[in-house]
């Protein structure tokens, strides 16, 4: 019995390293490195600056959207409308720009609209107690249907010069990647060190106990949705400004890709656990896999199947970790 108590010594550096390696973030990081090394060895063009830049530039918006999605899922909810929301916001941004609005408004108004729409979702979930899957499923159809009806899926061309924020390259790195990195770090710090971040975990882990501890769970959920709208807005701007045209439709299955990034990143679909660092790493991994399929001559249509496989592997890895921990008891 004494053995189970004699744990007074400081965890050594190697213990910490081992802990990191078996964490979801550690596994994802290793997987990303292994993937780059392996595919790079097979075809060196995979590691060319051009390709790396296109992988990151083309997918950073997914990682940004997954930050907000992770917060929503950690709080015990979900948003299946995020893909439609990003489509709508990107279209708004492009339309404003084409119609001669100042660029800064074309970039910020969609973010505010995103927060407003997500606030509606959050209000229905938090204060009207409608399950988030139902609320956001409704919102998905409204946004998707509305967008197609109004724009008929037209392409937005002739975007003004300077609109393409995501393509700027401060220090040689695409702006979209800067957004991804900086927002991930800020959000990770917020989730981990702020009182509000803690209450998101608490509400997702046990809403009733959180309420008894004096946490306003309704307000917490509502604010989480508003923050999620903010990230969806930024994701939409990155999405809208990365190419020379915007197709005013909803990118197919975007919400599933975003949710996949969160789940593969280690966010429990039941709420209460997970990190945004994990979801960003997972978004990078998924993007890198998608690109590597081309380089190893596999049809990119396999990407969806690979995503599904990743989800299942994540769940299995989680189960394995849990049972290992259980044996340690």
């Amino acid at each position: 019995m004494a053995a189970s108590l004699a744990l007074t010594q400081q965890p050594s550096f190697s213990t910490k390293l081992r802990k990191l390696a078996i964490s979801q973030e550690g596994i994802l990081l290793i997987a990303i490195i292994v993937l780059f090394v392996a595919v790079g060895a097979y075809n060196q063009r995979f590691l060319s600056a051009n390709n790396l830049s296109s992988i990151f530039l083309g997918n950073a918006y997914i990682a940004v959207a997954a930050i907000g999605m992770s917060m929503v899922i950690i709080s015990g909810n979900i948003d299946v409308s995020v893909g439609s929301l990003i489509g709508v916001l990107a279209t708004i941004s492009g339309t404003l720009a084409v119609n001669g609005w100042p660029l800064w408004l074309a970039w910020t108004i969609p973010i505010l609209v995103g927060m407003a729409i997500s606030a509606v979702n959050g209000w229905l979930v938090a204060y009207m107690r409608v399950p988030s899957i139902v609320v956001t499923l409704g919102m998905l159809s409204i946004l998707k249907g509305g967008l197609i009806s109004i724009t008929a899926g037209a392409w937005i061309n002739n975007l003004p010069d300077g609109f393409h924020l995501a393509q700027l390259r401060p220090l040689g790195v695409p702006m979209a990647v800067w957004f991804m990195i900086v927002l991930t770090i800020l959000a990770a710090a917020w989730m981990r060190y702020s009182a509000f971040g803690r209450s998101i975990y608490a509400v997702g882990g046990n809403a009733e106990a959180a309420r008894l501890a004096g946490i306003d769970r309704k307000r917490t959920v509502f604010i989480v949705f508003v923050i999620h709208g903010f990230f969806a807005g930024i994701a939409a701007i990155l999405f809208a400004t990365q190419l020379s045209v915007i197709q005013s439709t909803v990118p197919p299955n975007l919400e599933l890709t975003v949710i996949t990034a969160s789940v593969v990143g280690g966010v429990s679909i039941l709420g209460g656990t997970g990190t945004v660092v994990g979801s960003t790493l997972a978004a990078i991994l998924i993007a890198a896999i998608g690109s590597s399929l081309v380089f190893i001559n596999v049809s990119p249509y396999w990407l969806r199947a690979v995503q599904g496989l990743l989800i299942l592997l994540t769940v299995l890895a989680d189960l394995a970790r849990r049972s290992k921990r259980a044996r340690h008891r």
Binding site: S4, L5, Q10, K16, Y193, Y201, I215, R325
Partner: protein, 564 residues
Amino acid sequence: MLGNGQGRAIVPPHVREEIVGLDGVENLPKGPDKIGRGNDPTIRTQEDGQPCRRMGGLMEADAPLLRLEGIVKSFPGVRALRGVSFDVRPGEVHALLGENGAGKSTLIKVMSGVHQQDEGTLYVDGKPVRFTSPQEAQAAGIAAIYQELLLFPELTVAENVFMGHAPRLSWGGVDWATMRARTAEILHSLDIHDLDLDAPVGALSVGNRQRVEIAKALSMNARVLIMDEPTAALTEADVERLFGIVRRLRARGVGIIYISHRLVEIFDLADRVTVLRDGEYVATREVKDVTEPLLISMMVGRTIDQLYPHREPKPPGATLLEARSVAFPGTVEEASLTLRAGEIVGLAGLVGSGRSEFAQILFGITPASAGQILVDGKPVTIRSPSDAKRHGIAYVPEDRGIQGLIRPMRIRHNVSLAILDEISRFFFIDRNREQDLAKRDIARFSIRASSMDQVVGKLSGGNQQKVVLAKWLATKPRILILDEPTRGIDVGAKAEIHRIMSELAGQGLAILMISSELPEVLGMSDRVLVMREGRIVAGFDRAEATQEVIAGAMMRVVPAGMAA
């Protein structure tokens, strides 16, 4: 990552080897190897094996139906049973007694095939057997009724009784007529005539559902019936009927293993009693040869006087909390109380008397619909837990898992949860203060954990309860409401919580303790209030409070001596 060099564990000052983690055992997940296999419906369809031993009045001489010898069962990190022997004879009620964590649940799970023993032997009718699934135990005539009834709420009474072993027609279809007829027959044999065979079980009262469970056991020709705290959720009338049924089964020659914490029931019903303590076999006695204090001292290994911390009676301080005729529709009719600094007030009452609901009004979980609450003599409005917290009230809820803990979070984060605002600066949590708090509380409450970063869901019940207590004491309350503070935790942790309670009272906190255990109420309280049907119906000073008067007030029985 989160360790930050702080992941050290705290070795509790007084480690009691025999109790560490025992409590967690009963919550272990049942692996698929324990329940998943052997689902062969054919092994249970013997139709004619009626329990044939009629009572012949020779209970003493009868060979045991089921006998266990030297049962040892370990779970990772804990020895739940250390050489326990037990037997049950036809036509007897054999009570199994012990504190929570003593190993009762594990023992009955070994008997009923849910767990397999590591060492020792089970004998059925004198022949050694080994059950690898509950189905095998049922086939051998051993059925168990657990506290959580395992019924299908949407299905009817008859369907539930014959779930898994429905009588079949020649072509394999279900023989509904026989099923209903046999269900009716079984129910009538138990003197139950008021159950609609076609009613969905979900619509029945708890007492009726339990009768369905009993009928289900009998439909499988159970010769040994294990009942795990069958009266825990029953009304008084249902308890009476249950006793009638148990006596009837005994008269038919069924051997009954009866687990209850209510000693009164054991004296009322049982023929023999076996006591377990910390996984060890203590003794088996004839009920007629034992007394209540003797049983208690066998259970706890100490006498009751030694069990509770000795507190010098001192004059209570100022009134901190006063409730005047507060009410909540449907649960609390009208309840008043005063709590003074430095005193522990026990609140007794049966389940359903409104005592927890009263506490939840005081803490703002369900705000009062009428009445007035005063803190320090001033009327206050308490409409949410945050309001109550602001007025210096803390509440340790009855159900740790549902209301007390964020199970996926670490100890450190649970302990600081109620004071996040206080330890934050500019939105961010002061991690040093949080760590100091967690370290201090782990030491102060002897929380047994590998580190303050351990996830609380993995702690034993007693340690989880200490985390909840630590969380609330971090708010520096002046008024502490404890709802069943020691339910489901092991003896050692219980004693520690009692010690903490007396210390807190000594420091001038006003404590309201709700408890179903009368010895605890008597052992800890300066005053005892009794609730019944949503009202405070009686109050006793420490000197006048006895088990008898309190139980009498709880159940509206005028104690002998005060009658007439």
